[in-house]
């Protein structure tokens, strides 16, 4: 087994969560990278839907933007953006919504709007995009982002897209159709919602990562499942596919795939 980076582990671990044949609504950046890796490895029949309109996109390189030409040219069909949100997402046809975030809290709520006060923000982030309704209506949601004190916070400045709200059955009370986030995949570990509380707890540590590292990189008092698994290291096949995808992307764009 060759050496691999923590980012590669994160992408591979996220890709493994997409079952073959799943219909996946993909955010740009890390979700898109993981979803395309899944398509190129374990799940060749995964259906990738991008909010700009492509359904069944099969890009050979990672898109830099949500509307890159190759997404349209390789898709089964391209529909207007209104239709994507109305018929395909709100219509209940998305198995997995795959999202990135600027910040996440212990209930899988996402902030992509502001740091600080909304009306006089410290940092103005890009905003909602398609995420609030993906988080609401996809049957399941996966979140992928690098873990740090700044990204995994105790209290979000702003809830852009709801996960399990205030925990417990809050999401159900809100009347949201989808099950909400079922996994957060980071460069250190995998977190899943605890039964009942819906608080995210660590269920799998990536190889070589200690509990102390995870605690230090989490802004709330992170808890661990009774039995914590060790994530299987990337296989040679997974690494080869990921690196080839990144090399093709760099050659095509002169830069890595878009991060957000």
């Amino acid at each position: 087994m060759s050496a691999y980076s923590t980012n590669e582990m994160m992408t591979v671990a996220a890709a493994r969560r997409l079952n073959n044949g799943a219909v996946c609504f993909v955010g740009i950046g890390l979700p898109s990278k993981a979803a395309n890796l899944a398509r190129l490895t374990s799940s060749p029949d995964v259906v990738l839907i991008y909010e700009s309109g492509p359904i069944g996109a099969k890009p050979t390189v990672l898109p830099l933007s949500i509307g890159d030409g190759e997404l349209a040219e390789t898709a089964d069909t391209v529909v207007p953006t209104g239709e994507i949100f109305r018929y395909w997402l709100q219509g209940g046809r998305i198995d997995v919504g795959f999202l990135g975030a600027a910040q996440v809290d212990k209930f899988g709520n996402i902030n992509t709007t502001v740091i600080g006060d909304y009306h006089s923000p410290k940092v103005r982030l890009p905003g909602a995009g398609g995420a609030p309704e993906i988080a609401g209506s996809a049957k399941q949601v996966l979140i992928i982002l690098k873990q740090s004190h700044r990204t995994f916070v105790d209290k979000l400045a702003f809830i852009t897209s709801v996960g399990h709200g205030e925990g417990g059955d809050h999401r159900k009370q809100l009347g949201l159709p989808g099950a909400g986030p079922v996994g957060i995949i980071t460069d250190l570990c995998i977190m899943e919602p605890e039964e009942g509380t819906h608080e995210f707890i660590v269920t799998s540590l990536h190889p070589g990562v200690s509990r102390e590292q995870v605690v230090a990189a989490t802004g709330w008092a992170i808890r661990f499942a009774d039995s914590v698994a060790e994530t299987a290291a990337p296989t040679a096949l997974e690494l080869e596919a990921l690196r080839a995808l990144e090399a093709r992307t760099a050659a095509a764009h002169g830069q890595a795939g878009g991060e957000e």
């Binding site: 740009i28 909010e51 700009s52 309109g53 492509p54 830099l64 933007s65 949500i66 509307g67 890159d68 030409g69 997404l71 349209a72 040219e73 391209v78 529909v79 207007p80 953006t81 209104g82 994507i84 949100f85 109305r86 997402l89 709100q90 709520n109 709007t113 909304y118 009306h119 923000p121 940092v123 103005r124 890009p126 905003g127 909602a128 995009g129 398609g130 995420a131 609030p132 309704e133 609401g136 209506s137 702003f158 809830i159 852009t160 897209s161 709801v162 709200g165 809050h170 999401r171 809100l174 009347g175 949201l176 159709p177 764009h253 002169g254 830069q255 795939g257 878009g258 991060e259 957000e260």
Partner: protein, 282 residues
């Protein structure tokens, strides 16, 4: 019937100070040339509507043309921040910018409602999100049949929409393809619609069911080849990713930005002259 005229004339006649303007195009077919012309003609106090402000509104905001922005995702795709947008929101430069913020699904639905002649759009959205707390226009409506509480948002009805497309014929019928975003809805939601096109041909040869905007539903058609750059027109150009990257340091600094628009936009007569100047600078 749409008039086939220059972009300069179209902006002069159909974009007024204080208008609500939508320059649409979802990454693909962004009407950049029109934003340049709006800057050249120094249109002011505009309310800018667009799902993804992109470089096209970073320009207009930084140039001081905007008083308000209605949007749902404001970043430089694949690169990072829109610095002129952020500077206006965070520091009020060059003037304070009122923002009205939505989600993509909300805005897409609001355009559909606008094109449909409805006062508002209904969608299943925002439960649990903080966005309704900061945007009082996001309200709820109860379904009279099931009792379900749904989001209600006002329709988008711009004074003028501008889109870019691949082809027009000599009568001003317009054909577009590829990623269509909300262009058709934005065109039909507006009181006036200007379309810039890559080429004007004798016959569109449009396949049945293709996205064709009939001339009689449009106001003006302008021949502006490459007018979407650094966005692209499928079949004519590719997205200029390097320009999106190069924009970051230009827009990051107020003086660099102002010097850039003074040289390349205010200092050129039209988009063709802009393209020539950019090519010379390479």
């Amino acid at each position: 019937m749409a008039e086939i005229i220059s972009l300069g004339e179209a902006v002069k006649r159909f974009v007024n100070d204080g208008d609500t303007v939508a320059l649409e195009g979802f990454t693909h077919l962004i009407p950049t040339a029109a934003s340049h012309e709006i800057i050249r003609q120094n249109k002011r106090e505009l309310t800018l509507v667009r799902m993804t402000p992109d470089l096209v509104y970073d320009l207009l905001i930084g140039a001081g043309c905007a008083k308000k922005l209605v949007f749902s995702w404001g970043g430089n795709p694949g690169v990072g921040s829109l610095h002129r947008l952020r500077d206006a929101v965070e520091k009020g430069w060059p003037q304070p910018l009122e923002i009205e913020e939505h989600s993509h699904a909300d805005m897409a639905n609001a355009y559909v409602a606008g094109a449909s002649g409805l006062p508002f759009a209904v969608l299943r959205a925002y439960a649990g999100s903080d966005l309704p707390k900061v945007n009082p226009l996001i309200k709820t409506v109860t379904c009279p049949f099931t009792g379900e509480v749904l989001a209600a948002v006002p329709s988008v009805r711009p004074d003028v929409t501008v889109i870019h497309a691949q082809k027009a014929d000599r009568k001003g019928n317009v054909l577009l393809w590829g990623i269509l975003g909300v262009q058709k809805e934005a065109a039909l939601a507006a009181k006036r619609c200007i379309v810039t096109v890559e080429e004007i041909v004798d016959d569109l040869n449009a396949p049945m069911n293709a996205c064709v905007l009939p001339s009689w539903a449009l106001t003006a058609v302008c021949h502006v080849p490459g007018g979407a750059h650094p966005s692209y027109a499928l079949g004519y150009s590719e997205r200029d990713n390097r320009f999106y990257q190069a924009w970051d340091p230009i827009a990051r600094d107020r003086e660099t930005f102002t010097a850039w628009i003074d040289t390349y936009i205010r200092g050129t007569e039209d988009f063709a002259a802009f393209q020539q100047k950019i090519a010379e600078g390479k």
